[in-house]
């Protein structure tokens, strides 16, 4: 059986677990712990090792979705998770500018791990204070050549669109090869 891996990375509380939960056919295997640091108490729990979701195509092919831990002190997991990935999604928290710099670092780090296609998804676009993808592109200095999509991680259709965008990109790159 062939397995394909896509990694979902992004800053703390960007919505990675929710993203995977929206499309996974199994309950996400989440390694969450209660948050103890007061400065990180914008949600009750956070991922400390990884999230794991699955989409089965048929008995020969399965897609695995891995969500990275958002807190920087668990970044030793990132490189392990990125091994063998076909592409990755960097999820931005569109309502928290304090995470933009970290998102840039994550983007740079994952680009350095593996030469695979990736897209940037501007999550939480349903919230009133969300920065638009166009503004985020400028704010994070993301080149126009990088695909950037609006996203709402708790809506399955939105997550599907994001994953499809990434897969189309993978396809483009494969077809461009001689």
């Amino acid at each position: 059986m062939q397995t394909v891996k896509i990694v979902v990375a992004g800053p703390f509380s960007a919505g990675k677990t929710e993203f995977i939960q929206s499309v996974s056919e199994i309950d996400v295997v989440a390694t969450e712990q209660r948050i103890t640091r007061p400065e990180e108490r914008i949600k009750d729990k956070t991922t400390v090792a990884m999230d794991f979701g699955r989409i089965t195509v048929d008995e020969d092919l399965v897609l695995y979705l891995f969500g990275t831990p958002g807190q920087r002190r668990f970044d030793f997991m990132w490189e392990v998770l990125s091994e063998g990935m076909v592409g990755f999604v960097v999820l931005l928290d569109s309502v928290r500018p304090e995470t933009f710099r970290e998102a840039q670092d994550i983007l740079d780090t994952f680009r350095s791990y593996a030469p695979v296609p990736y897209i940037v998804a501007a999550n939480k676009q349903d919230l009133p204070d969300a920065w638009s993808p166009e503004d985020l592109r400028i704010a994070l200095r993301i080149p126009k050549s990088i695909r950037m999509v609006p996203c709402v991680a708790r809506e399955r259709e939105s997550v599907k669109r994001t994953l499809l965008e990434l897969l189309y990109l993978v396809l483009d790159v494969i077809e461009a090869e001689p």
């Binding site: 195509v57 076909v86 740079d108 030469p115 009133p128 503004d135 200095r141 599907k160 499809l164 494969i174």
Partner: protein, 275 residues
């Protein structure tokens, strides 16, 4: 959709860059511990700035740029009543006090002088609201943000140095106890003489700046020069750490090649479409 955040996370330089590149129209409001700045933009150009509740203050702008005397400024203020800057400007042009060019040049310089100190704000809540800015009655200008960003960044370095030397403007100055040279023998410009004339223990540097219609950076420059020349000393100076900004370099991106076959990706695409 408003852009909100804190300058701690997204600096004034980054904000101006975003407004410029996205050719935004709207108003950027910044609040730093009660200090308020409102900047208006049209198509990515700076058209108006209000800092700490003050309007363009045409009279102050003209005075600061030497277009009118202090006496004239007092007279105009006394007679201006509730006229807006725009109405006042027309009156002054018609009365032959100043030309339209004088006004635009002065207002532009005034706006820029108000903006540049904001580059040193490393904290403060900001909010950008899209939509036509409310600039009724004020004299709007059109200033390219590229030059503002470049000049502001350059000034920031100077500002940091001046802030380090003169951290607090709420201190007074006194003449040095043993100046090596008599003031008469030193070549001072008009602005420096004005500052000198207000030096006494009761006047803080801030107050001297207000008396002379000088911006923070102008007064700091002059006082710094006088300090370096050994002519004056600060009474009860305090020192603080200089403010810093962080400039990040980005890396180039290239197309990347995954290690899977085309038909595998096609099957995944079909499956996800079905979900």
């Amino acid at each position: 959709m408003a852009l909100k955040g804190n300058l701690r996370d997204f600096t004034i330089v980054q904000l101006l860059n975003l407004i410029n590149l996205a050719r935004k129209t709207g108003t950027l409001s910044i609040d730093r511990n009660g200090e308020q700045a409102d900047l208006s933009f049209q198509g990515g150009k700076l058209v108006y700035a209000r800092v700490d509740g003050s309007d363009n203050e045409l009279v102050s702008a003209l005075r600061q740029n030497g277009m009118i005397t202090e006496q004239q400024a007092r007279t105009i203020r006394a007679r201006a009543g509730k006229r807006s800057d725009k109405e006042l400007g027309l009156l002054l042009i018609n009365a032959g006090y100043v030309s339209q060019e004088d006004i635009l040049k002065s207002v532009q310089a005034w706006v820029l002088d108000n903006i540049y100190p904001l580059f040193a704000w490393d904290e403060g809540f900001f909010r950008f609201d899209s939509g036509a800015p409310q600039v009724n009655g004020v004299i709007a200008v059109r200033i390219d943000l590229e030059s503002v960003i470049l000049q502001g960044t350059r000034r920031l370095e100077e500002w940091e140095r001046l802030q380090e030397e003169l951290p607090d403007l709420d201190v007074s100055l006194k003449f040095a106890d043993r100046p090596q040279t008599s003031l008469r023998d030193i070549s001072l410009n008009v602005q420096e003489w004005r500052v000198i004339s207000f030096i006494n223990p009761r006047n803080t540097i801030q107050r001297i700046a207000q008396y002379n219609n000088m911006s923070d950076i102008q007064i700091r420059k002059i006082v710094y020069g006088l300090l370096q020349a050994g002519l004056v000393e600060i009474v009860r100076p305090e020192r603080k750490e200089p403010e810093r900004t962080d400039v990040q370099e980005r890396i180039e991106t290239k197309k990347r090649r995954p290690d899977v076959k085309r038909n595998v990706i096609m099957r995944l695409i079909d499956r996800i479409r079905e979900l």
